[in-house]
Symmetry: C2
Subunit: 416 residues, 2 copies
């Protein structure tokens, strides 16, 4: 793909509005564009990363036999009156009244809607268990939108819901989701922790949070170095009585055993095989998909720019031709790209009429894992210089070895 | 994949709310669920078809060097004041005021927002031409939502925007999009026509509509049998003076040469290579993605249910085991599925504890292109019966021949 066609409007300067490192880098790299405070459009590179993250999520959700659906943005307020959450959510709910005076809200979350769907279609124990999920845009009227995608008014979430006959079924699905979540966050290249948590406004009993240590985090935990454990309270370590240090965390996922709170309130009952009508037992499982972009960048950057983890990088190789008007160089680069693309490796060719310095600066900023350089060295030795973005390691290779090297490196990462 | 896990709540009866054939079949087949009038959730089979359609669109857009982005649902009203379209769109615009008294609307279309993005980032002729598109949910406060996804309040569109230096550039991009659109609608299995159209509220000069003949269509054209041409006016054929017949059409796509209407109003200027600042010349190109689901079903059904065109079918093969408790049958079916799936063919196994009659009825209703039957015939002859959904042709084949037959048939369709 050509840099000029993808539309990658990188910025030379840090934008004034940027509030933290990930925000700055995503704006400067042309991943995001602010439309209004807390409201962001995803430019093509941002969409590519979002799609990669979504596919990681789909792979692990599908492996647990969860099935994807797509609920609505507009939700009738009646649903929220049934559970009483209209009061709890009042502050953050954006409301609309349509021309027929229908009262709607822009879905801040979808427990109520999925429970209506369960109520409509699940009649018998034979239809259970089932796990449904969606990847969808949600809305919250935030008092203080912050840090770009970390706390925004319009954001993308993956939300999943499990439906079971009994508590054992719920516990089994909950375990499956816990496992899927660990795999998802690992594949996204995150350093994260899993901790037991409060259920809060969601209701239910058991609950776990997935947290990413980061300077800009808004959740605070305390860490005991000698026990290597995190705690909620600011106190000596409950295990060794030693001192703890404060750590800031970004919440990227949260899962809940809801039980029957929603099914009872909304009347989602099924007929069990003992002939008794029972409320469906539910769990819910959320991931902040757009927030993940920011969390990953907070953990993966250096002084030159972003360093994307392999599985969610917008491209795998960035090709820089120093002197793109040189026909031999362009021909060699084109041939390498053809071969890499036919091996399923995504390549971005910087075809812009810009000085080499600008191209390198942008290549580093965008954080694509490998940079392939065609320049003076190639003309003299016919060797392509490969720079590994993360380690700055440089290696000069002939065209066949170059393809071999990239394939092996990329395969090795995919297997991790 | 297992029928019981995918969540396919088929209905025995036509729902009362259904207004036309596609609406009935999509509700009965468990593709859609109505949340409120004009507001539909997509159940897993619906999502699978939506994803197939989206991928067809992406393939053909990307082949024209268009690049995918994702704009916002919430749009500041100021943008709409600049172009004056706030008045034109007033009737259908859903508005929200947030806690900071910010006036927003739920994007009914995105010309204003993309023009703001162009203004922000496109400074020089070197960045042109560029074509951007998104697949996104849009909103219209419809007076009369109708026919399910044909006219709904919350719907999915693919909208593309081209940016050029001059009229020749626009004309070239317009031709590319016209070509991409023909390919997209063909791949979706539609019988459609392309006609010149009015630009209406969009502004600009040249414009084409893509129309699908269907009983429930709301656009009316007149057809001359002898000239084989469509006309807008209810009058004798302008070419042969013969009689014309009335035809109803569903609009599935509309493309416009916008020119400089938006770039002038919003100030999206670029510096040309002659040193002169000029407004960017724009085109816009829309497809009703969710509406396509309905349009395809309106043209592809029979008395038993839907008949999905190959490229957008939710699964390719539906496996029905008559007597799923029979171990030999289940083992044979499982082995066939394993082999088909490893050949990249998507299979749905009806694992429900239901009478064979119910399973066949549902298999026909869902419209998956091939049904593979394991029953008495298999036990006696070791031959699998394949039924082609569209032609009702039945053929009994050994397991190897069966895989060969399906691969060849599916490949042949992919190449069409």
């Amino acid at each position: 793909m050509l840099f000029s066609k993808v539309f990658i409007p990188t910025l030379r300067e840090d934008p004034h509005s940027a509030e933290c490192k990930s925000h700055t880098l995503l704006l400067r790299g042309g991943f995001l564009s602010m439309i209004s405070s807390g409201i962001y459009a995803y430019l093509p590179l941002g969409v590519r990363v979002l799609n990669k993250i979504s596919n990681v999520i789909r792979t692990h959700m599908n492996s647990k036999e969860a099935s994807e659906l797509l609920m609505t943005v507009l939700q009738p307020l009646e649903m929220w009156e049934k559970t009483g959450r209209i009061k709890d959510m009042e502050e953050v709910m954006l409301r609309v009244r349509d021309r027929k005076d229908r009262d709607l809200c822009l879905g801040p979350t979808h427990e109520e809607e999925i429970t209506e769907i369960a109520k409509k279609y699940i009649a018998s124990y034979k239809q259970l268990p089932v796990v449904l999920y969606q990847i969808q845009t949600k809305f919250r009227d935030e008092t203080r939108p912050r840090y770009g995608l970390v706390r925004s008014c319009e954001f993308i979430m993956k939300d999943a819901y499990s439906f079971d006959r009994d508590q054992e079924g719920l516990a089994a699905n909950y375990e499956k989701m816990l496992d899927a979540y660990q795999n998802i966050f690992s594949d996204c290249g995150l350093d994260f922790i899993t901790v037991e948590a409060d259920s809060g406004v969601m209701g239910g009993s058991v609950s776990h949070e997935f947290l990413v240590p980061a300077e800009i985090g808004e959740d605070i935990l305390y860490y005991c170095q000698s026990c290597q454990k995190y705690f909620r309270e600011d106190a000596p370590c409950p295990q060794c009585q030693g001192a703890t240090t404060q750590n800031r965390m970004i919440e990227v996922g949260h899962i809940f055993q809801l039980g029957t709170k929603y099914s009872e309130a909304q009347g989602a009952y099924f007929l069990d095989n003992d002939g008794v009508r029972k409320p469906v037992i539910m769990g819910c499982y959320g991931i902040g998909v757009s927030r993940l972009l920011s969390a990953v960048v907070e953990q993966n950057f250096d002084e030159k720019g972003i360093v994307w983890p392999h599985r969610i990088a917008p491209f795998m190789v960035s090709v820089v031709v120093v002197g793109i008007e040189n026909e031999e160089l362009l021909a060699a680069a084109t041939e390498l790209i053809r071969r890499l693309e036919s091996a399923g490796i995504e390549v971005l060719l910087d075809d812009r009429d810009h000085p080499a310095g600008v191209k390198f600066k942008d290549a580093y900023l965008l954080g694509i894992p490998y940079i392939a350089i065609f320049g003076k060295k190639y003309l003299e030795t016919k060797k392509i210089e490969i720079e590994v973005r993360k380690t700055s390691q440089k290696i000069a290779l002939g065209s066949d070895e170059c393809i071999e090297f990239l394939k092996n490196h990329i395969d090795a990462y995919q297997k991790l």
